[in-house]
Each structure stands twice: as structure tokens, then as C-alpha cells.
Assembly symmetry: C2
Amino acid sequence: MKVVIVGGVAGGASTGARVRRLDDAAEILILERGHYVSFANCGLPYHVGGEIPDRDSLLLQTPESLAASLALDVRTGHEVVGVDAVAKEVEVREVDGGRTYRETYDKLVLCPGAEPIRPPIPGADHPRVDVLRNIPDMDRIISDVDAHATRAVVIGGSYIGLEMAEAFRTRGLTTTIVERTDRLMPWLDPEMTRILDFHVTTHGVDVRLGSSATAIREDGAALLVELSDGSSVATDIVVLAVGVRPSAELARQAGAVIGPLGGIAVDAEMRTSVPDILAAGDAVETAHFVTGEPVLSMLAGPANREGRIAAETICGRQTAYRGTQGTAIVKVFDMAAGGTGLTEAQLRERGINHRKVYTHNNDHAAYYPGSSPMFIKVLFAPGEGALLGAQVLGWDGVDKRIDVFAMALRAGVSVFDLEHVELAYAPPYGAAKDPVNMIGFQASNLLKGDIRLWYPEDYPECASKTAILDVRTPAEYGYWHVPEAINIPYTELRGRLGEVPRDRPVYSYCRSGFRSYLAYCILDQHGFTDTAFLSGGLITFCGFHRTPLQVGPGGFPIVAHVEDAMATRPGALEHV
Amino acid sequence: MKVVIVGGVAGGASTGARVRRLDDAAEILILERGHYVSFANCGLPYHVGGEIPDRDSLLLQTPESLAASLALDVRTGHEVVGVDAVAKEVEVREVDGGRTYRETYDKLVLCPGAEPIRPPIPGADHPRVDVLRNIPDMDRIISDVDAHATRAVVIGGSYIGLEMAEAFRTRGLTTTIVERTDRLMPWLDPEMTRILDFHVTTHGVDVRLGSSATAIREDGAALLVELSDGSSVATDIVVLAVGVRPSAELARQAGAVIGPLGGIAVDAEMRTSVPDILAAGDAVETAHFVTGEPVLSMLAGPANREGRIAAETICGRQTAYRGTQGTAIVKVFDMAAGGTGLTEAQLRERGINHRKVYTHNNDHAAYYPGSSPMFIKVLFAPGEGALLGAQVLGWDGVDKRIDVFAMALRAGVSVFDLEHVELAYAPPYGAAKDPVNMIGFQASNLLKGDIRLWYPEDYPECASKTAILDVRTPAEYGYWHVPEAINIPYTELRGRLGEVPRDRPVYSYCRSGFRSYLAYCILDQHGFTDTAFLSGGLITFCGFHRTPLQVGPGGFPIVAHVEDAMATRPGALEHV
């Protein structure tokens, strides 16, 4: 059997390795148009920033090492430019030299990856406007930085954009992020990411939200990035990080069905619609684990697994790709942000009925050094409480909680299992009631009808219909409060029930949602039957309403004035 | 309703808080014989060591704070000395002063915790022989250290013993651990903990394994700890950390059934056998999540959950404790060690049929700074592959993988789900194929019959019946190898198949198990039908056979000579 694999990075290399392990007699040919195979593309930004000092460490394999260990015939600089699915041949062009030749195949696996998108604006093709997708891209950016660059503009505020902004700051460049939407990491729900805007800004990055680049022009030795808000930013380097699109052209040419998102359509065995042609990696559309809908995952984990499945299919094994969960994480300076499953925005778009809760517990016991808050949101089905998605941001322990949620989602469990799961506790690592347990408590209390919640989006409408009760201390209330709120500290509530209006629903809140939960219990049992507390407290409230942020005690952001907030751009961040 | 709770630490405080939230009208009385409630007992060793500088941070609550927030009547220094289950009264003694009085109850919850065991040896009750269970214990140890102690002996090498040894080393004391079994952390399987013995020793602790203290005597100003091997250790402080036993005396006196392990027997609703008496925390026996057998968990997580369940039962809620998983972790200097579910030893004792695999992948992408190896063992059922237990040791990311396994165990999934779960990947946090996926691959390959494994315990018997094939490089082979092994690097294997004996089974191995897996695939497909590779490679092999260890490249232990190993005590550790 002769297996030809187009592309030698994550999906292609995984396919080749797995075919070899299953079939030592197979002839396996990997054709990679670039000059590197199986390199660490997720590590590229960290070499730009210098955290990974050794460039060679990114070159995980070479054609020679793959020949020695796995008897793979790897040809770099060989681009497949055509597929004849009837004759079962590919046409190959040598990138250096241009010679073309044909190779036959018994099985063809398309792993061409994805191409960075260049927005259709003047100057997007300027030679100093970079993308970061492979080793030569990285080398070029580093060489530009080394050539006395002092300023960088990153267009796009998601994964690569944030990683590149951090890399440029680490290298000492004045750095600007231009993001079209109203927030960084726009795939997360909006109320969750406010803290990221703040964190990135406090690390010296000029964050321009709600702006897009309209043109990139030369201005003497510099480049000038013109923005949709009429402003412009002078810079020495521009990196485009506005997303990628699947490289589906070869598949299309071979007659394969292309999916609704532009990726190569494959079945669970990674077969395209064309006999003997399979596909894996960033170029394919797989089924989402929760919805079953086609999804482009564009991440290394799924790419590796898909390659593995393709190989098993080729070798006649019973196998199936079990869906893409959408688990992801990004390091943003000292913080981490990510999630698994569906976001609230995705659930709403699809009309999927759901409930949600927020918590803000510390990653480990507060009395042990280095403890820091985590911001968690969990989405789940009404009734039985099947987990639908989770988002986590914070400083430490974020990856751990995302992975626990990812395992829970994969296992199909409910929020009741989050309540009961027994996680590893010692003070450096967690809490006797882990944040996962804590959010499980709130979710299961909600499903059992033991609590009622209100949410930031209920405001300001709710202000005219309810009594809003701030149960924090007078000092906290004095620092800032929801304008319509009255203040009764939860510790005084039992003795001051007469001050709580009985003619309207009572909506209580505190900073994170714990004290107002206690207040809820008191009110609920003293005849205030129409009462609720604010899930996630002011932390989530101010994230949703995008209030200005200030550095509070302990160095973590707390809220400033919500009155200003509705009209305030993040550029107005105050650092106290 | 009047609820009386005996004990105000983890289980008791949780019970009281949850009853209050569910019933604001309840009269809740917590009687704690110590002078502190709801303190951070898991943090005590870290205040001794100085990592937690502020003693007050360990005092999470006071009677005053609990009265203010939860309207609890908390009386410290009040010991319940008798229960009259017919009259529904307890007899209380004021620890300071000795006055006694009676309190009636509608519901009584026993949360008395556990008592440190003092071994029955001369001197165990000497005033400078300490235990560490509460704040006064901690204060006394710190005061002893401050009084110019330069030497400490810790008796017991499990959780508290290791944490105390680290604390004493951090304070600069010459420190000895005396452990009765042949290894530190004896609840983990023996082949896993060798690295801990080494790590603790390299941090300057004198580790005496296979020794027990036979007497503690005064020797001038010092104490002399006499050991079962005839040696003795002079010291200024002795801490006993040989375990705890449940404080079941009150329950016994009240007529409650005591379980086979000496703890208070409770049902899933935390009811004892006596009407209106419940129990929670370290003093109770709960059902193990996997076996259903009674188990003493003695950890903070279950204690908190049990208290919560007891409260829900009291307040008439439908509730049930869903079993103790046995999840645990301990920080040991820079390392972490722990697990969830059952160990191999526990499975063997119970005659539960099982399979096992080992992997040693790095915690995150090796090219990103700070990557370090992790040592993972997973136990699972034959056939469907239900997860039964997991153990993880390493430097970083250990808690994360334990928690993912704990969630998987709770969800009742199989090793096939470990293969497919999509975990959060970015280079600082993991790998595109996470260690959890990697061990899932090996386990599912094993169950599907795609691979065959051999194990360290097959040696030396297997040496006479098989060809042992070392597929590492000649340099590695030259440094050390299994004595009977022949060396053919896996990269040369295809060309040197003629050198591989065909008259015997072929058992291959490498350092961690990956290269020998590739060798297995080659051999299996070239007619060597009776072949297997060593799960976990030499790392696990040398852990099992307790070979001397040396510091190798990168600072991590590698193996030395196994010939010596069989007869060598860990005291002979060589530091190169």
C-alpha cells in the first residue's frame, strides 16, 4: 500500500507515524511544500518573545529523523499542485527549481492546514506586514524586530494576536492591538473578558477595541496603520492575526465536497467524499461534540487526533473521531483564559435552552502564598443539568479547571457531578471545596429550586421593578455601588428586615456572589418569596457593563463607577 | 429545631453553615473542645516552615465571625463528654474551669475528627515528642524550633510526615524521616515512589526506610530516637506522623454502631444507627466510590461534603453522599505526588481483575521552558476498560492530571475516553497529545489487542525464557542496561531483524516505553508474534527494582546498576 500525505505538520505527521506503526510494509510519502516538517507551530510566538531561546527546539523532527525512526519518505519543498482522483495520482512541484512530477497513491491524505487571512485593505500585502504561521514567518518577524524596530501593531485580539502582543512587549516594543469587536478573545462570552482587556492594558499594550484597520501605508521609514475610528498608529512592524481559512483548494479540485464553513467535509473516519482520499487537520470540518454541527477547530489537539483516525481508517481499523469539544486556552502575560464546549452566545444562536452560573473563588487556599481569583462560568441544560460549556480565566490553575470541565463534558455528566467530584486537595493546589465543586453547588442549587439568580443583563431594566440590595460593608458600598441599590450588610440583615421593601422583588448582590447567597437564604426564609441574588456578583456585573476598572487591594481589578461605564470606552481605564 | 454539633473544624463547621442556609430559624450550637474553630488544619505545616508567614491567616473563622454571618452559637473550649440518646441530651464540660452542663438537642451531629496515633513505645509521651493536628500543636512545635533546635526527627513518611520534613528543612534543621515500610508515601504503589525517596534525600533529608522507632530517650539536652535496625538518631524535636484514628468514643458511648475500621458507621445520608444522631468528617466510615466498601478518608474534601450532606438530611432534603474516591495529593519539596481511586495493591487484595499501563511524558511541551517529566500509572478493568485508579508524580501539572482522572473516575468513563478527551493545549500548559491522552492511547491499544506489554515484576524470571531487547542508543545501553539484554537501536531494527532471536519471545524496552513501542510494531509485523514491550520502560523498571539512582542530564534521576540494585538499600543512593 502506498500512502501519500499532503502536508507534514500536525495532522500529516500524525497520520504518517500512525500508518507506520500499524503497517510496517506501507510505502509512506509525505509531501510538504514548506521547508520544515513537524515543527512546533504553537511555539512560534514564544521564540519571537525569547521565552524559547533555542530556535532548533521548535524543529521537532526532520526528514532524516522521520526516515530513521519511522521509515517515512518526507520531502520538504515539494508542493502538491494537482490531484487526479481517477488515475489516483498527484502532481508535485518542487518549490525550489520548479520541476514537476507525478506520484501515484493507493490512499491520499490531505493535511494542508490553513492559510492566514489577509484583510482586503490597501497595504495588507506590504512586505513588512507579516503573518505568523510557520518558521520562515517567524524568522522574518524576528529579523524585522532585530532591525531596530521599536513599535509593533498587531491586528486581531484573539490567540495569536495576544501571544504576539506579549512577545513584542517582552522584546520591549511599543505595542498596539487593534481588535474589530468590542473585546479581546471575542470567542469567549463578553462579560468574561473585561479582565483581559484590563490585564493586557496594564502590561503596557495599547488596546484599540471596536476598531479595524482600513489601510496600511508607508510613512517615511515607518508604516502607518489607519483605523476605522479615524485615528492612525505609526509602527515599524505589523502582524496580521485576524484568523485563518482552511486550505481546501486541492480537495475542491479533486472533486471533494466542501463543508458549509469552507473546510473539507469528512466523515467520522476522516474520509472525504472522494474514494481513497482522506483529510485531517486544520483544513477539515468535523462534528462538534455537543451540537453535532460542522466545526473548524484549527487547533493542534484535534489535528493530531484526526490524523490518528485517518491512519486507522487507512489500515482497516474500526475507528471514529468522536467530535471536537472546542477546548482551548491562551496565556496572556500572567493570566490564562479559555474554555470548553459551547459559549452562551453559541447556545443563544442555536436556540439551545440553557442555564448559567458564575463563581469567583480563588485557585487555591487563600492562606497559602500565591492564591489568586479565578473567573468561572458554567453553562448547562435545564432539568437534568447536562454540562454544555465552561469558561475560565485567571492567573493560576485555569488550565486545570478547564481540563476538569473538558473531561466532564466528554463524559456527558451533569452539574451534579461537579458538586460531588472529589478533586486533589492540598493548600498549594486547591481548596477542600474546589472551585469546580463550588460552581457545581450553585448550579445544582439552581436546578433544585433552592436558589434563584439574577444576571447583569437584567440591569438596568430591573432597577425600576425591584429593590436592589447591596449586602456588602458600608465601606465597599461607599466605594462604589449599583446606583439604585440600598445597603444592608448581610451580617446585619436579620435585624434590619424591616428596612427591606416588601412590595417588590428583592435583588441582592455582593462582590462575588457568596455573601448575597447568604442574604438570599435569610430573605427567602423570612417571607421575601420573590428574591434572587446576582450570580457572579459585581465582578461579573462590571464585566458585562464594561465599567472602568481600577487596581484594588491585592492588585486585582475591582470596579469603578458604573454610571460612567455605559458610555465609557476601555481607553478610559483608570489605574489607581 | 435545635441542632447540636460536636466539633467545629471541617465537618462540623460545614454542617452548621449548611443547616443555617437551609433553615434560618434553627437553633445551631457548635461545641468545640479546642480553642479554635474552622481553622486551616491543612495549612499548619506551612506555617511551621514559614511559607505561610501570618498565623492569623490560618484562623479562617472565629465564634464571633460565625455568629455574625451565620447566627451560629459556637462555644470553643467546650467538650462534649457524654450523650444521652434517650433523653436527647449531651453533657458538656468547659475545658477551662471544668464546669459541666447539659444541652438538649433535636438533632446531634458528631464531627469529633481523629486523634493522632502515638505508637506504644517508651518515650512516645515525652513532652518534646509532638504531633501536628491543631493550632496549639503547631504553636508548640514552632516554639520548640525557635528554642534553638537544630535537629528534627519525623516518624512516618506519608502526608504529614513529608510536609513536616520539608518544613523543618526550610527552617534549616537537620532532618530525619523514619518510615516503617520500604518507601515514602506507602499508600502509593511501590514502583511509583522511588523517585520520591530520591527527591527527598537530595533535599537533604536523611530518609530511614524499613525502620521503626523502638524508643525515644532523653540524652542530656537532646532526645535519642532508637530504631529497629539498631541505630539511633540524636535530635532536638520529634514529630509523630504515623497516622490518626477516628474519634469514635462518643458515638460508641451513645450506642452507635462502629464500623470495621473503627470509624462511626453512617448511611449515605450521614445518619448513625442511633435515631437523630448523625456524623460527618474524619470520624466516620463512608462507602468507597469504586468498591462500595467502608473507608476512612480522613481528608478535608470528603469531610466538608459529608457535613453538607448531614445538614441536608437534617433539613429534610433529599440527598446522598456519593462515595469517597480516595483522591489525594501531597507537595514534597518541588515535587507533587498523589492519585485517585484504587491502587494496584488494593485491587490485588480484593481480587479485582485489572490491567495497567505506565507513561512518562512531560507535563507540557518540552520546547517551552520549565517542562519536566511526569510519572503516571493508570489501572482499569479488562474488556470495557472502566477506569479504576490513577497515580501521578512529577514536578508540575500533577494536580491537574490527578483531577482529570478524578473527574473521569467519578463519571464512570473508560480509558477510551482518556484517549479522546480534548484537553486545553497551549505550550505552557500541556501538549497537543496530553499525557492523559497518551496513557489513554496505550491503555486502549492494550485492550484492543494492538499491543502486548511486559512489566518490571516479570523480571528476572523472564530473563531465562525470553530475549530481552534494549532498543536505546549504544551510549544509553553502555551507561546501564538490563544485564541479559541485547542492544539493537530501534532506528536500526528493520535492517537487523536477523539478529533478533526467533526461538523465544522477544521483550523489548527503552527508557520510557515509547521507542520500544515503535520496536514492538516493527517486530510484530515481521513475524515476531510473541513479543511485548516494557510499559513505563526503565524508569518504572528501576522504580520497581529499587535500583540506586543518579542525577542525569537535566537534573532528573536516571538509573544506575541494577545488578547492585536487588541487594541495595536506599541508604546507598549515589549522587553523581
